[in-house]
């Protein structure tokens, strides 16, 4: 079991992040409520709160989903990613408040249990326009809850990375469910084309961003076509790699990060053990390859994390011939020591 989750404490950056995020959420809610009261003086407080909280949760989810691809476009967004899970938890809390108020308002004090009412009140599944939109909201809320509850690295370690990652990809399912919740719910009554426009704009932004960065990634993933000799593949010139940084190439279908540091060159898998972060976009800090996402560290020669941590990534044989770096595409077992190639 990893000890990594104990190493990350609540530092100043996290406090700033949380404060800014809470400020943003409260500003949104306040502006929504004040606008509602000014322009619709007849509205009741419950209805206004339900709409403000629901809208806020959905908007925040749009922000959460933007962070990943934005970091691929510009690494200066990375601090947003580092504490993204806090934003995910905040999204869940807003959604839960929205759902809770709606449950009390629309389903409590009736002739059946409120939760039963949500599931059995409207069961018109034959016609799309009448479909019980509450089901989509509830489904998304359950997913957001599971992700929020397992957001701590304790769960990442205990569920194992692939299971955890798969669970957290559920955020896209939650997003789709919430789009349906909005389209089949409030947009059946609120017919301003501007509201549809705002929703569409958000969807186009999220989709466009993902398609764009996915396409760039896909282009980068094309098998590196260099000269081969003795099973080694020519990757690049030593001079092409900035000091303490890496050059990422795809060899045998795997992303390999070739780091230059301290007069040496080492090659290791570019996929971080923590959450598959792009290790090759990281940096050598204090002699360790450091992941740009959450700062996990690996020794360049062995691909192993410094004790007491136990993560390790595969390494690759590497050599330098006449200023050119050559890498063997066969991965060594994670943590296997490989002699770095000396420059010059």
């Amino acid at each position: 079991m990893t000890l990594a989750y104990q190493a990350i404490s609540w530092n100043r950056q996290k406090r700033v992040y949380d404060t800014v995020m809470a400020g943003g959420v409260l500003t949104f809610l306040a502006v929504f409520v004040v606008t509602g009261l000014v322009l619709h003086s007849e509205i009741t407080a419950e209805a206004l709160l339900i709409r403000a909280l629901g809208t806020g949760a959905f908007l925040l989810l749009n922000v959460v989903l933007s962070i990943g691809p934005l970091c691929r476009v510009d690494p200066r967004f990375l601090p947003m990613l580092y504490n993204r899970r806090h934003m995910g938890v905040a999204t869940f809390l807003l959604g839960a408040a929205h759902g809770g108020f709606a449950l009390v308002q629309f389903h409590a004090l009736g002739d059946v249990n409120p939760l039963v009412s949500v599931l059995t009140g409207n069961t018109d599944v034959q016609r799309l326009s009448e479909f019980p939109f509450e089901w989509f909201g509830l489904f998304a809320l359950v997913l957001l809850f599971l992700m929020a509850a397992t957001s701590h690295d304790f769960w990442l370690a205990n569920l194992t990375a692939p299971v955890w990652k798969a669970l957290h990809m559920g955020v896209y399912l939650a997003y789709a469910a919430l789009v349906l919740h909005v389209v089949l719910g409030v947009l059946q009554a609120e017919t301003s084309p501007w509201l549809v426009g705002v929703l569409g704009l958000g969807m186009a932004w999220i989709l466009g961003l993902h398609v764009f960065t996915g396409w760039r990634e896909w282009c980068g993933d094309r098998e590196h076509a260099g000269a081969t000799a003795d099973g080694f593949v020519e990757v690049c010139a030593v001079a092409d790699i900035p000091e303490n940084r890496a050059r990422v190439v795809t060899l045998g279908g795997e992303r390999v990060a070739v780091f230059r540091y301290d007069g040496k060159v080492s090659a290791l898998s570019s996929v971080c053990r923590h959450q598959n972060g792009p290790l090759g976009e990281g940096c050598v800090v204090d002699g360790f390859v450091t992941c740009p996402w959450h700062g996990y560290q690996y020794l360049p020669e062995t691909g192993a994390s410094p004790p007491p941590f136990t993560e390790s990534v595969p390494t690759f044989a590497v050599k330098i011939v006449m200023g050119q770096v050559w890498v063997h595409p066969r991965p060594n077992a994670p943590g296997t020591r490989v002699e770095p190639a000396k420059i010059g």
């Binding site: 502006v31 200066r76 990375l78 601090p79 629309f106 019980p132 301003s192 705002v198």
Partner: protein, 250 residues
Amino acid sequence: MSAPFYIGYNAKMPPATAAFLRRWVVALFVAGAGVAVALAGLQHRYGDGQFEFGIVKSFDGIISESPYPNLIVRRPIGTDAKDVRSRVLLVAPGKHGAQELVRGLEGRAVTLQGSLITRDNQSMIEVRPGTIAVQAAAVAGDDGVPLGNFTLRGEIVDSKCYFGVMKPGNLKPHKACAIRCISGGCPPVLVVRDADGMAVYFVLAGSDGGAVSSDVLDKIAEPLEITGEVERQDNVLVLKAEPGTYRRLE
């Protein structure tokens, strides 16, 4: 190092990264506020109903149980005009009708306490349980006046929410609540709008004049056409038709 490298567990981020993010955070705040104004502002009007929540008043009148509990009062509530009969629908707290509260009191003169719910020319009282006091023996109620057959297009709402307890109290977002309320006994009402958008309200009854609550649950909050006999019961219009003959409008 070719560019400042950010590590989350360091106490400070590189200044260039911080400056970059500050600009984005400001932009996000402005965009968020703009979206909030747009989304809150672009909604429909929520309706003019009033619910005197927490204000309990005393009312005198004669109980009528059918098709839904109502109180026949001697003047329109809120005016001094005497000798005009007016009917006020009665409901219980929560999503419940007042059937249990008035059972067996048909035609009795009572005083009761409750909170007023009003919208347009419609009024309703949320009766406080345990406050109905019978004042006199049975008094014969008047029969309704038939106005003829009509085909009407509108939406079924639960009258309690629509008249003012919830805003908005109709259409899809409110559908499940309306189902709950009507299932609980609140009178189902067909809201018909004329060419100017003015609403006319028809309390729905079966062809025998009885309650139809459980038979309309799958037809609430969607466009409908109903053909039936309209009867005036004092100020209240009752539309008598079998729920099986209601026609959905696509």
